[in-house]
């Protein structure tokens, strides 16, 4: 039986990697992909908690974490579609996907 913490470590490491991607990549598509990685890390934590936490909580609440993940995935899909269409709308004209080339997008 793997302890809960190990799942959480995995989730934390993936979240941090996603955060690194957001902070260190200049390509908007890659930044968006890194955000998806962060969402995925949260999913792992949610599923792990829903598997391990039955003590204390009411009996019927236990699959809530997995249902949350289900909705998170739906949100991620909608967000990805919207993100990509906005990126396409901009970059079809600009001919670049480099964050630095979009004056307003420097950070």
């Amino acid at each position: 039986m793997i302890p809960l913490e190990h799942y959480l470590y995995l989730s934390g490491i993936l979240f941090t990697l996603g955060l690194c991607g957001v902070m260190m990549r200049r390509n908007v598509i890659l930044v968006l992909m890194s955000v998806e990685i962060m969402l995925n890390a949260a999913n792992i934590a949610l599923v792990a908690f829903s598997k391990y936490l039955s003590a204390g909580a009411a009996e019927s609440v236990q699959l809530d974490g997995q249902v949350f993940v289900f909705f998170t995935i739906a949100v991620a899909a909608a967000e990805a579609a919207v993100a990509l269409v906005i990126a396409m709308a901009l970059f079809r004209r600009l001919d670049t996907v480099n964050v630095d080339d979009v004056a307003n997008l420097r950070w």
Partner: protein
Amino acid sequence: MEGLLFYVFGGLAILTTLFTISSKNPVYSALWMIGSFAATAAVFVLLEAFLIATVEVLVYAGAIMVLFLFVIMMINFKAEEQKGLRLSPLAVLVALTFLTLFGRAVGDLGSASGSKPNELVGTPGAIAEVMFTRYVVPFEAVSMLLLAAILGTVVLSRRNSQA
């Protein structure tokens, strides 16, 4: 056996994610990311979240990443734009701080909450039961979310003004 599988797939997930964020070519990044999602799905199977594992493969690895690949192919990247990771000390510091804090925070969360494994298994039936009773309003809200996404996507991607 289960322990071994977890460390194999967990390690794979970390490794592929590392390649995702550091690959110079966005197409490679997207492919590595599909691998990362597949490894995550395997971890979900170990957690007995079977429906979530399936959805992870279908929606994340299947739909979302294909969408990303499409866009990457449609926007032609110039060679000089394909930079890899740009290491900045501040970003590394933020990441390390967060990881240390988080590691210490969850260090004994499992034992503190006196957890014992959940007996419920994440089969479609079990999930559906919760989703269509307690979470029926959020389920309806998702439909509005998807409608809005479709509508906005259609408007923004219209090529020309056909009045």
